[in-house]
């Protein structure tokens, strides 16, 4: 089962320049691109350039090029275009001269990427979830999220199995999701929710 977002009608509306579809396209793929950049620890500063270039190339392909052979896989097509754009940007970056050995380390730009995900409300929800856990579980999550230790190392250090870790993370994420949607005033009839940026 997949929750398909795109079909031939959507792609046609986008190619025809329908404003509502263009707006959805921009919002939806902004999310995708930010997630992809964050996963690769690239700076938020690159996000805007990569997003703009990706959108431009996709729309050009739809309106002047060969179009999309599988409209239901339109998201995958955009993701693939984004990958090419990212590679080009990274190759441009790599042509800059190397920093001297004794120069200060560049700031962790992944902090900038996290900024779009942070909010006081979300931090409060997470803090409450963490406060409701035992000290061992809190330490597990601290090692994973703050110290970025490998799962195997965390399991060995704290004497827990990988299944325990898997369930702990899953429940923490689901509690966060439910609490977040409750705060937004949404009563969910299913454990899963829609995430709003």
């Amino acid at each position: 089962m997949e929750f398909q977002t795109f079909d031939a009608a959507y792609v046609k509306r986008l190619a025809d320049g329908d404003p509502a579809t263009e707006s959805h396209f921009s919002v939806y793929f902004r999310k995708l691109i930010v997630l992809k950049l964050r996963a690769r620890r690239l700076s938020d500063a690159m996000a805007e350039d990569i997003q703009q270039e990706t959108m431009f190339r996709v729309l050009k392909a739809l309106r002047k090029g060969s179009g999309v052979s599988q409209p239901e896989r339109f998201g995958g097509f955009v993701s693939s275009v984004c990958n090419h754009v990212m590679l080009e940007f990274l190759q441009k970056e790599s042509r800059h001269p190397q920093l001297p050995e004794n120069s200060p380390e560049p700031a962790d730009e992944r902090v900038d990427m996290d900024a779009s995900l942070l909010s006081d409300q979300r931090k409060q929800i997470v803090a409450e979830i963490l406060n409701g856990m035992g000290s061992k579980d809190r330490e597990i999550l601290r090692l994973l999220f703050l110290e970025e230790r490998e799962r195997g190392e965390v399991c060995t250090k704290l004497g827990v199995g990988s299944e325990y870790l898997r369930v702990l993370l899953h429940r923490a994420k689901e509690r966060f999701a439910q609490a977040y949607m409750r705060k937004r005033g949404v009563v969910s009839q299913q454990p899963r929710t829609l995430f709003s940026w």
């Binding site: 404003p19 995708l32 979830i129 963490l130 809190r138 899953h170 509690r175 937004r184």
Partner: protein, 218 residues
Amino acid sequence: MDHEQAIQTQASMRYALGELTPEERDSFEDHFADCSFCMDDVGMASAFAANAREVYRQRAATGTPVRRFAWLRLRPFPTLALSAALNVLLVAGVGYDLAQRRTAPAGGVTATAEPQTVEIVPIQGVTRGAGPKIVKASRLPVVLSADLPQSYAHYFYSIDRAGSPVLSGELDLPGGSEALNLQIPVSRLAPGEYLVTLAGDTAGGRETLATCTLHVQR
């Protein structure tokens, strides 16, 4: 990576934590680019990870201790109780029509006097390829459940018989819902075959979300 693999392997959380290999990451991205469920799950996992990191960072910086007895306010409960709580919510929220003894307004639902079980039937979207699902019902209420791949501005239902509308109206659905659950007041329908249609409005027009054939028997 397909959807089932993504769920089974907790790909969204592993993606948020940077634990996927480059090949797994690319494969998962190729999947969630077209799967709104996984896209949202990734967003939620990433938000949790980012905010958890920040909370730990702030606590380390300020030496803020964990609030004792916080468990008195937050009571995590086991999966079974959560499932039961959600079922109760579904029952209370949907409502039940004891139309054998009362008349409900056209297109509306009434609250029941007593809790009772209800059959929940998932019905497929029109894009899934298969024909309308056939649902058989007698007197007990039936709830038809359709996945919502996206949000819509408005939601509508219609129950037709032999091409003529019997019941129809607009539905009030909380924003962000991932499913549309429609209770059918079966006892108000005469025996026969009905076509139930769920639709949603976007800027581009009305889209049919799901249909099913309802066989009412006595």
